[in-house]
Symmetry: C2
Subunit: 332 residues, 2 copies
């Protein structure tokens, strides 16, 4: 049974994921799960995953059979479990909570060897539709406080299966990193009476040195204080705190710019590992005026090591102005 | 010239390290710096590093020649620069600061193929003496607010050279991660009138399920809310906020328990990559009653991926109680 545990000093939550429990030996033998050639996300292997919770498929096909073009299933080895009751308890001086939550996988295409960067407009848009539909479905569960959509690409990016997929983890508390953003954005709003992300868009537009691409609804830029080489953020141009309220036109604009940025990274850095996360407000009505949803794309080119872990500072050897220049030059 | 830049939302500082500036190509070709066989930290290559700032060597040897058993030099590709003036400046809405600071390398032994886990008592103690001497020397510079001593081991741990070494980075502000610990420890003290780390020692001792080793002056345990599999913290038993005030007896006890824990990890996990950091109070007199210096050792067995970056939550598949059991069983 997974368990949340809280660090008593910095109040950081950790999920002790017993479903994924490992012995020392599991870390010392090289993993090559995909070398066997079997992939649970391929056509014909639908029965090897938990039953689908959403699929875009022809009307004349049965659930959990081939034919789908996007498919969402619960994670077979979930970090958290939607069947658990939420219970908080103490353990001496320490705080813990049952590991309630949702952990789902969005299989982005039946094509095992593709990747988000290489999807066409239509397919990328369908993937984003799956994000939005699952986001809004899970948001109806009042016990859930935060829904995180993210993508790990490449072994170094933490992807244990190479078949193109994203993930959703939904949890009953607001995570620390998001709280920091909410608090920071609120401080800024209290001082300036403006949204800090809206101000960033304005600053980036005036300078035009870190913008990589923009379209009608979104802007993508290398942030001024990029933690990682070639980090890129995608931000909606019109203020909006909630990813779930994105409309049909925005969905297709968002899918395009996200795919384009991933393609630029793919070309400039030769298909590097990366992570992206969608940061949005908590599912309750927080942050409406001061928070602004966005995507943070983080190529995994440098190793986060002792200094970064110890300090929370990052050392980045690529000025974001240079990164933007290289990424902009890519022909789409 | 390196530059500190501040994220306008979460106020996280980043060092844009132009001394280490890289082009996209540098990330796409495999690095095998050490494959050439040349190591700047070996005997006879002392002239290839910046001149030593401290060395333990026989009295009849010249500086920057062989004979030393521990040697400290400025980093040849420093993230920060001690020659810069501190200047804060704005860049539109953004905040920046010149990249002032110290970045030094502690070469732990002349033996290229050794590692901290395999040092004998005497050599491990000498390394800790070098930590303490450099810590206290740098602390005299009033412009420095924080000194971080850390060690990266293995390529996956971020070590770009395999010759055994630790690093020191000293900066003119208190890093975010440390501030969080200071604030958390202060909150706890305000509520309980006790040090949270002292309480953890008491809790761990009562339970005795996560302790890996202890000696006269130190205790090592797998923390209750371990972020990483086989994470271990080493904490002085007597309350002390400042690493720099460690005494001669404590230095040798600390060296032994640190080496022993690293040896246990080396044996159980077959010489895995890891990072460790020494967390101490800022160099000014903060945290005296409520903060408690300690070491955090983090084996790098799982990949920190989208979920962790996006949330600040960690998923750990090894309960710390299990990790402690495996580590305890190792024969020293």
């Amino acid at each position: 049974m997974p368990e949340y545990r809280k660090d008593p000093v910095v109040k950081r939550w950790v999920i002790i994921a017993t479903e994924r429990a490992k012995r020392p030996h599991d870390f010392t033998v090289p993993k090559d799960k995909n070398k066997s050639g079997f992939c649970p996300f391929d056509y014909g292997n639908e029965h090897t995953t938990p039953p689908e919770v959403l699929a875009f498929r022809p009307e004349d096909t049965e659930p959990n059979t081939p034919g789908w073009w996007v498919r969402v299933v619960p994670n077979k080895f979930p970090a958290v479990d939607p069947e658990l009751e939420i219970q908080k308890y103490g353990h001496g001086m320490y705080d813990a909570m049952t590991g309630f939550g949702y952990h789902e996988v969005i299989i982005e295409t039946p094509d095992h060897n593709s990747t988000f960067a290489l999807l066409d407009d239509k397919q990328a848009t369908e993937v984003v539709w799956a994000y939005v539909k699952r986001f809004n479905a899970i948001a109806k569960d009042q016990r859930i406080k935060y829904i995180l959509i993210f993508r790990n690409h490449g072994i170094m990016g933490g992807a244990s299966l190479s078949h193109p997929h994203s993930q959703i983890i939904a949890i009953p508390s607001v995570p620390k990193r998001v709280l920091e953003e909410l608090n920071g954005a609120k401080d800024y709003f209290d001082y300036k009476e403006r949204c800090v992300f809206c101000d960033m868009i304005s600053q980036e537009t005036i300078e035009n040195k870190r913008i990589v691409e923009e379209n009608e609804a979104f802007i993508a830029f290398a942030p001024y204080a990029s933690r990682f080489p070639f980090e890129v953020w995608i931000v909606p141009k019109v203020h909006s705190h909630n990813f779930g309220s994105i409309d049909e036109n925005e969905i297709s604009e968002f899918a395009k710019i996200l795919r384009n940025i991933l393609y630029r990274i793919y070309k400039v850095l030769d298909n590097p590992p990366y992570n992206f996360v969608i940061h949005t407000s908590p599912t309750y009505e927080e942050g409406k005026i001061y928070y602004h949803w966005h995507v943070e794309i983080m190529p995994r080119l440098t190793r986060v090591a002792g200094f970064e872990w110890g300090s929370g500072f990052y050392i980045n050897p690529v000025p974001p102005e240079d990164a933007a220049k290289y990424l902009k030059e890519v022909e789409l």
